[in-house]
C-alpha cells in the first residue's frame, strides 16, 4: 500500500516542480545556464502491459572537482590515484538505481527468444543489427532462471551485463525521445561527492553512513528497495551500497595516470578500449571502505560463474544480485535555449 501512495503523489509534486522550473527558466537570465534548466523532472513511461512507471532525474550542475583519493585516505587503493582535476558539464542523473519494475518493462518489450544456434552466423547478424537502425532493438535473450531473483518491483534491477544496461538505455531513449545513457566514471564520482571534498560526501564521520547506505552491517545480505535511505546533498539515493552501478568507462588501473596528463580533464570517458567495465558505489555486502566516493571496482571473472555455458551470455550475470546501474542524460543543446 505504501508503495502505491508514494507513487501516486510523486508525479504530481514533480510535475509542479517541473512547471515551476520551466517557468523560472523562461523568465531568467540566459547566462547562468545551469539555473535555467529544470532542476529535476519526472519521466513516466507506459509498459507493454499498460503500467505507468516513473523515475526522477535531477540536474547535476557542471563543475570542476578533484577525482580520486589523497594518498592518506584510509582504505585507498592505488588505482584511485593520482588525484586529478576533472571538469564535468551539467547533466541529468536518475535519483535512484534503475528499478526492477522498469527493467522488466524493457525485458518484456525487447526480449529476443532467438537462441544461439549456429553461433558464427548469429554473431555476424548481431553485429549487423547493432550497426543498424535503432527501431529494431534486439533485447536480451531469456534469462536462465528468474530475472528478479525473488526481489520486488522497487528493488534495483540487477544481474545484467554492461552490454545489457547499454541496450536498456537505448530502449529507454527510443521510448521517451530523450537520450538516456550510463554516466561516465567521472560524472558518477562527481555526483557522489556532490560538491564536497570529504571521503563520503556527507561528512567526516564514517558512522553516519548507516543513514545513507545498505552495506554489510545493515543489509541482511540482500538488496533493499531503492530510496529507503537518505539521499546525498544533490538528492541522489543509494550512491553508497545496495547495488554496484555500471558506468560507461572501461576499467584500467592506469586510467587516472592518463587523465592527469590533461589538467583539468574535460568530460573524460575513460580508456578507449579494455576488457571489463567499471562498477561504482559498492553493494549491500560492501565494507565501509568500498563505499568511499573514490573507491573503484570493475567486473571480475567470477561474476560470470553463475553462467555454466560457453559462450557466456552477452546479457546476463546469473545470480549476481549485487550489480545494477542508474541512468544519466546529456543536457541537449536545445534544452538550454528552449527550456524543454
Amino acid at each position: 500500500m505504501r508503495r502505491y501512495s508514494s507513487v501516486s503523489c510523486h508525479p504530481v509534486i514533480y510535475l509542479v516542480l517541473f512547471l515551476i522550473s520551466v517557468f523560472a527558466f523562461q523568465t531568467s537570465d540566459l547566462q547562468s545556464k545551469d539555473c535555467e534548466l529544470p532542476k529535476r523532472y519526472t519521466e513516466t513511461i507506459t509498459s507493454k502491459s499498460g503500467d505507468k512507471i516513473s523515475f526522477d532525474m535531477v540536474l547535476i550542475p557542471g563543475g570542476t572537482f578533484e577525482m580520486g583519493s589523497p594518498r592518506d585516505e584510509p582504505g585507498r587503493k592505488d588505482d584511485e590515484g593520482p588525484r586529478h582535476k576533472v571538469h564535468v558539464a551539467p547533466f541529468y542523473l536518475c535519483t535512484t538505481e534503475t528499478t526492477l519494475e522498469l527493467f522488466l518493462a524493457y525485458y518484456q518489450e525487447t526480449m529476443s527468444t532467438k537462441k544461439e544456434f549456429f553461433s558464427a552466423e548469429q554473431d555476424k547478424k548481431e553485429v549487423e543489427q547493432s550497426k543498424g537502425d535503432v527501431d529494431a532493438i534486439t533485447g536480451p535473450t531469456p534469462v536462465y532462471g528468474d530475472l528478479t531473483m525473488g526481489y520486488g518491483k522497487k528493488h534495483p534491477a540487477m544481474g545484467m551485463t554492461w552490454h545489457n544496461a547499454m541496450i536498456f538505455c537505448k530502449w529507454l531513449s527510443q521510448k521517451t525521445g530523450r537520450k538516456y545513457r550510463l554516466p561516465t566514471e567521472a560524472e558518477w564520482e562527481y555526483a557522489c561527492r556532490a560538491g564536497t571534498t570529504n571521503v563520503f560526501g556527507f561528512g567526516k564521520d564514517p558512522k553516519q553512513i548507516v543513514g545513507f547506505a545498505w552495506y554489510e552491517d545493515n543489509s541482511d545480505g540482500e538488496t533493499n528497495e531503492v530510496a529507503k535511505k537518505k539521499p546525498n546533498i544533490w538528492g541522489l539515493y543509494d550512491m553508497f551500497g545496495n547495488v554496484r552501478e555500471w558506468v560507461y568507462d572501461f576499467y584500467s588501473p592506469e586510467a587516472y595516470q592518463n587523465a592527469a596528463n590533461k589538467s583539468p580533464a574535460i568530460n573524460p570517458r575513460g580508456p578507449t578500449s579494455g576488457k571489463v567495465h567499471v562498477a561504482r558505489g559498492g553493494d549491500y555486502s560492501s565494507s565501509i571502505e568500498e563505499l568511499r566516493c573514490a573507491a573503484r571496482a570493475f567486473e571480475e571473472e567470477w561474476w560470470r560463474s553463475g553462467d555454466p555455458q560457453i559462450p557466456k551470455s552477452k546479457w546476463w550475470l546469473p545470480e549476481m544480485d549485487f550489480i545494477g546501474f542508474r541512468m544519466a542524460r546529456f543536457v541537449e543543446p536545445q534544452e538550454t535555449h528552449s527550456g524543454k
Partner: protein, 433 residues
C-alpha cells in the same frame, strides 16, 4: 586485496579452480592411474556441442592441467567446429581435437568414447542413459548433465550403468549442481539436523521465460529441425518437469533424506506457447508429490513470457522454514550461509581429483532417483492420472524410437498436422504407463 574478494555474498560462488589446478599439477607424476598409454594426460571427449557442454568441457580442462580435449560430436558438424574454435581460443594448449576426431550424427558418440578416457555428456536428454552406459561399458569415466533420462526405460539403463561403474571403479558424476554447491549442502544438512523442526511441506518453483526458439532454416529436414530445437520436442527432451524441475525436486528429495515420494498427481498444458515453433511440449505444469509420511511437495514450472517469475526451493518445517537457494534458515536460530561457490566448476574439480586419486565418485543413486521423480510427475501431467513410485519403477515405457535405434536418415517420431502444429498429450485420454 581486491574490492570484492573480501566480501561475502548471499549465494555464491568462489571458483576453487585455480587452487585445485595447482594442487593437482603437483600430483601429476604420482597419480596411481596412468592414462593414454602410460602418460599422465587424461583424454576428454565431448558428446554434444551446445552451450552447456562447451562450458562443461572448459570446466574439465580448467579442473586439471593434464587434460586434453581430443574428440567432439554433435548432431550438427557446424556446432562441433564452432565450439572447437571457441574452446581453442580459451584453452589453446589443451584443445587438440583434429578434424578426424570431429563427428556428426547420432552415432558420433561411439567414436568419441573410443578416443577418450573421460566423456562429458550434455545433449538431448533422451540419449544420456545410452551414452553413459556405452562409455562405462568401454571403461571410461563419465560426467553427464541433467536430466539423466526422460523415461523409465532409460533410467533403468542408467541404474545399470551406475552399478557397472561401481564394479569397474569408474567415476559417474552428475550435473545436478545443487549437490556440489557448498551453501546448499550446508543448508540441507541443517534441515536434516532439525534446524526447522520436522519438514511439513516443500514448495518448489521454476517459473521463467520460454526456452529459446530458432527460426526454421531452409534446407533442414524435419528430423534436423526437431534436433536443432530439442527442448521443444518431448521425444528428445522429456519436457519441462525433467528439464527444469529436476533441480528443484533433487533438492526436495535431498532435504527429505534422499527419499522418493510414494505418489504424485500433476496437471499441465499449453497456454501461450502454442505456435508450431514451440513443438509439442507443455508450457506450464504443477505436480503435488506425497511421501509415505504424508509430507507433500508442491512443485510448479512454467516457461511463459510476461508472467511472474520465480526460482525457489522453500522448505516449511514445524519450527521454522528454509530457502535452500537463499542458503537461509529461519527458525529458533536464524542462519545464513555466507560464501561463494561455483558448483559447476566443483563438479569437475571433484571428478578429476577422484580420477587422479583412484577413488571413484559415483552419483548414480540420486541421479536416478531425482530424475525418476520428475519423469513420474511429467507422466502424471500428460495422463491426468495419479502415478505411484511403484508404478513408474515397474514401467518399461519409453518415448520411441529407442535411442540406439535413432538413425540420421529416419523419419522423426512426431509429425506436424496439416496446420503445422504438433499433436500434444490430452490429459484424461493419453495413456503412457
Amino acid at each position: 586485496m581486491n574490492a570484492s574478494q573480501n566480501t561475502t555474498r548471499r549465494k555464491f560462488l568462489k571458483s576453487t579452480a585455480a587452487l585445485a589446478g595447482g594442487a593437482l599439477a603437483s600430483k601429476l607424476t604420482t597419480g596411481e592411474v596412468t592414462y593414454a598409454g602410460g602418460s599422465d594426460i587424461i583424454r576428454v571427449g565431448m558428446i554434444g556441442c551446445g552451450g552447456r557442454n562447451t562450458g562443461a568441457a572448459a570446466q574439465a580442462l580448467t579442473a586439471d592441467p593434464g587434460t586434453r580435449l581430443v574428440a567432439m560430436c554433435d548432431i550438427f558438424m557446424d556446432r562441433v567446429k564452432s565450439k572447437r574454435r571457441i574452446l581453442k581460443e580459451q584453452k589453446k594448449d589443451q584443445v587438440t581435437v583434429d578434424d578426424d576426431h570431429c563427428f556428426a550424427g547420432f552415432d558420433g558418440y561411439k567414436h568419441v568414447i573410443e578416443s577418450s578416457d573421460v566423456v562429458v555428456i550434455a545433449n538431448a536428454a533422451k540419449f544420456h542413459p545410452l551414452h553413459s552406459m556405452t562409455a562405462i561399458k568401454a571403461g571410461k569415466h563419465v560426467f553427464v548433465e541433467k536430466p539423466h533420462g526422460i523415461d523409465p526405460a532409460g533410467l533403468k539403463l542408467l541404474q545399470q550403468a551406475a552399478e557397472m561403474a561401481k564394479q569397474k571403479g569408474l567415476c559417474l558424476v552428475s550435473g545436478l549442481h545443487s549437490r556440489y554447491h557448498t551453501g546448499y549442502a550446508e543448508t540441507v544438512q541443517r534441515i536434516q539436523d532439525g534446524a526447522i523442526g520436522d519438514v511439513v511441506a516443500i514448495e518448489e518453483n521454476f517459473l521463467r521465460g520460454p526456452y529459446g526458439v530458432i527460426e526454421r532454416k531452409a534446407g533442414l529436414t524435419e528430423l534436423q529441425w526437431q534436433c536443432s530445437t530439442q527442448y521443444h520436442f518431448r521425444w528428445l527432451s522429456g519436457d519441462d518437469v525433467p528439464q527444469s524441475l529436476v533441480h528443484n525436486l533433487d533438492r526436495s528429495s535431498w532435504a527429505m533424506g534422499n527419499k522418493a515420494p510414494a505418489k504424485c498427481h500433476g496437471m499441465g498444458g499449453r497456454s501461450s506457447m502454442t505456435e508450431p515453433i514451440y513443438g509439442d511440449v507443455f508450457d506450464h505444469h504443477s505436480v503435488v508429490y506425497e511421501f509415505a509420511n504424508g509430507v507433500r511437495i508442491y512443485a510448479f514450472c512454467r516457461t511463459t513470457n510476461g508472467c511472474h517469475n520465480d526460482s525457489s526451493s522453500i522448505v516449511l518445517g514445524s519450527k521454522g522454514k528454509s530457502s535452500i537457494l537463499g542458503c537461509r534458515i529461519w527458525g529458533e536460530t536464524d542462519w545464513r550461509w555466507e560464501g561463494r561457490c561455483d558448483p559447476y566448476q566443483r563438479e569437475h574439480d571433484v571428478l578429476f581429483k577422484a580420477i587422479r586419486s583412484g577413488k571413484p565418485v559415483n552419483n548414480g543413486d540420486y541421479m536416478v532417483r531425482s530424475t525418476m521423480i520428475t519423469v513420474m510427475g511429467q507422466i502424471s501431467c500428460y495422463t491426468g492420472k495419479e502415478v505411484t513410485w511403484d508404478q513408474i519403477n515397474k514401467s518399461d515405457f519409453y518415448y520411441p524410437p529407442k535411442p540406439e535405434d535413432c538413425r540420421d536418415d529416419m523419419e522423426p517420431p512426431v509429425k506436424a498436422g496439416p496446420d503445422g502444429s504438433y499433436p500434444v498429450p490430452k490429459p484424461g485420454f493419453t495413456n503412457m504407463i
